[in-house]
């Protein structure tokens, strides 16, 4: 602390060595005024938003994928109008979300649709979740379609109904195709949370920018932020790897 004060005076006077200068920059970026707390709060918000968005995204993705797949696999003579109706709506949803930038979606959600909400992190998570749902649904749909058509035929020829065939035969096989892409989607989602600062969500980037605007020194806050994201993504990838290996171990093929 005393060291910092002394060296800070040197930096101000322009007499510091580069070692002293970087020490001061580092200190004021993380230690001074307990600023590490701001990063920590930012990371917690980032994780909270990621987790919530993930949950929303997966639930939405599964619903959309199931409805759309079920619609496409109906018996030709026996098409359900209800399924057709929802299928059309969900198709619009996927098209709109995939066809517009995330930033625009955040602006619209933050300043138009939820213009009266003050829970910016929640609105951000909802937006990210809805966005992620569209991509997740396509990942899941792709995974379901990647399973050989003969599997569905074999299941149905035994007299199993559509739901049981999906549940016991198609879905367990599809998961192996889905999981790597889904992991990728999670990582994209984690990094995309940085966008919610534009609507006032106080996540990691928000904290870093606030600190930069106090210290007028960008090196350590932004480098630190990048490092935190990198560590989070690596942690995520590692956990996902374990999960995938477990899944493969339970299925000798």
């Amino acid at each position: 602390m005393e060291q910092y004060a002394a060296w800070q005076a040197l930096v101000k006077a322009g007499e510091a060595t580069s070692w002293q200068k970087y020490y001061v920059y580092f200190y004021q970026a993380f230690v001074d005024k307990d600023r590490w707390m701001q990063y920590l709060n930012g990371v917690l918000t980032t994780l909270y938003v990621t987790a919530l968005a993930l949950l929303i995204g997966v639930i939405l993705g599964v619903i959309v994928a199931v409805v759309r797949t079920a619609h496409d696999q109906q018996r030709p003579g026996k098409r359900s109008p209800v399924l057709g109706f929802f299928n059309a709506i969900l198709k619009v949803y996927v098209t709109v979300i995939r066809g517009t930038p995330m930033m625009v979606q955040l602006m619209i959600m933050g300043f138009v649709i939820f213009a009266s909400s003050r829970d910016f992190a929640l609105v951000g998570a909802l937006t990210l979740g809805i966005n992620s749902g569209a991509y997740t649904s396509e990942i899941i749909r792709g995974g379901l379609m990647s399973v050989d058509a003969g599997q569905m035929e074999a299941g149905r020829s035994l007299g199993l109904n559509y739901t049981d065939t999906m549940r016991f035969i198609i879905v367990p096989q599809a998961i192996k195709a889905i999981l790597p892409s889904l992991g990728n989607e999670f990582i994209v989602l984690l990094k995309d949370t940085s966008l919610i600062s534009v609507i006032g969500g106080k996540e990691l980037i928000y904290a870093a920018r606030a600190i930069v605007s106090r210290t007028y020194e960008a090196l350590f806050p932004y480098l630190g932020t990048a490092l935190i994201y990198l560590v989070l993504v690596m942690l995520f990838t590692w956990l996902l790897g374990i999960f995938e290996r477990r899944l493969r171990a339970s299925d000798l093929r």
């Binding site: 300043f111 009266s116 006032g200 920018r209 605007s213």
Partner: protein, 249 residues
């Protein structure tokens, strides 16, 4: 023949010195241009018009200064917090973005002479009763990196403050009732209140702030060159005239 050449050379040198009296004394990152970072969401100091030109008090001042120095103004628009960092990282010669002179900022830039003095103000909806006394109970919107943010966070803590990339977004949040009020420089607050209906400007007790241009650290020659022109513009009343002109509408 020889005489002729000497005469032409002399004439050329005379014109050169006349056009750019200071040219030899300072350097800019791009020769012949004054490159400046700015966050053009800060009327009346700087704003963009419908053609994307950066207009306002400071662009007018800079235009006069550049004319005298024989330079061409070159604006780089970015968020305010990035604009503050630009001179230091060599992206701009100066930050010209309604920058308040602060002790801690003096380590980053060499400030020019300040040309205006302003106060912080509170902007809120007309039906709200917000003053300095109950400001702590409000959610305060600011722009990231501004003195408004610094005061609000220092006095009322991070949780009561939402910092946006630009003041225009902050005012959007105010009209949406996503924040209760904005803390901003009074001239800017008045400019927004004049265009957005239903807003009022409340005075604060924060002390006066001086605005100046933040020139990249160590470019003393450029500071001196700008100061010489700027002080002349202050002395002959041009600065006041420009500020008045932009504050009227």
């Amino acid at each position: 023949m020889m005489k002729k050449i000497v005469a032409i050379l002399c004439a050329m040198m005379l014109t050169l010195t006349a056009v750019s009296a200071f040219a030899a004394d300072f350097t800019t990152i791009e020769a012949g241009k004054l490159t400046m970072s700015t966050s053009p969401d800060f009327p009346p100091f700087e704003n963009t018009d419908d053609d994307g030109n950066i207009i306002g008090i400071e662009p007018d001042l800079i235009a006069l200064i550049c004319e005298k120095l024989g330079l061409e103004p070159n604006w780089l628009a970015m968020d305010f917090d990035s604009a503050l960092l630009a001179p230091q990282t060599g992206k701009a010669d100066a930050v010209v973005s309604g920058v308040t002179v602060r002790e801690d900022r003096k380590t980053q830039f060499d400030f020019t002479t300040s040309y205006v003095s302003i106060h912080q103000a509170i902007v809120c909806k007309e039906d709200k009763d917000i003053t300095m006394d109950n400001l702590g109970e409000q959610t305060i919107g600011v722009q990231n990196g501004t003195t408004g943010q610094i005061y609000a966070v220092d006095d009322f803590g991070e949780d009561n403050v939402v910092a946006y990339n630009t003041y225009s977004v902050a005012f959007l949040a105010l009209t949406n009732d996503q924040v209760d009020c904005i803390v901003v420089d009074d001239l800017v607050g008045k400019a927004y209140a004049a265009t957005i209906p239903g807003l009022k400007v409340v005075e604060t007790t924060y002390e006066a702030e001086e605005f100046a241009f933040g020139v990249s650290k160590g470019n003393t020659a450029l500071v001196e060159a700008i100061n010489e022109v700027l002080e002349g513009l202050i002395a002959d009343g041009t600065v006041e005239e420009i500020i008045l002109k932009h504050s009227m509408n």
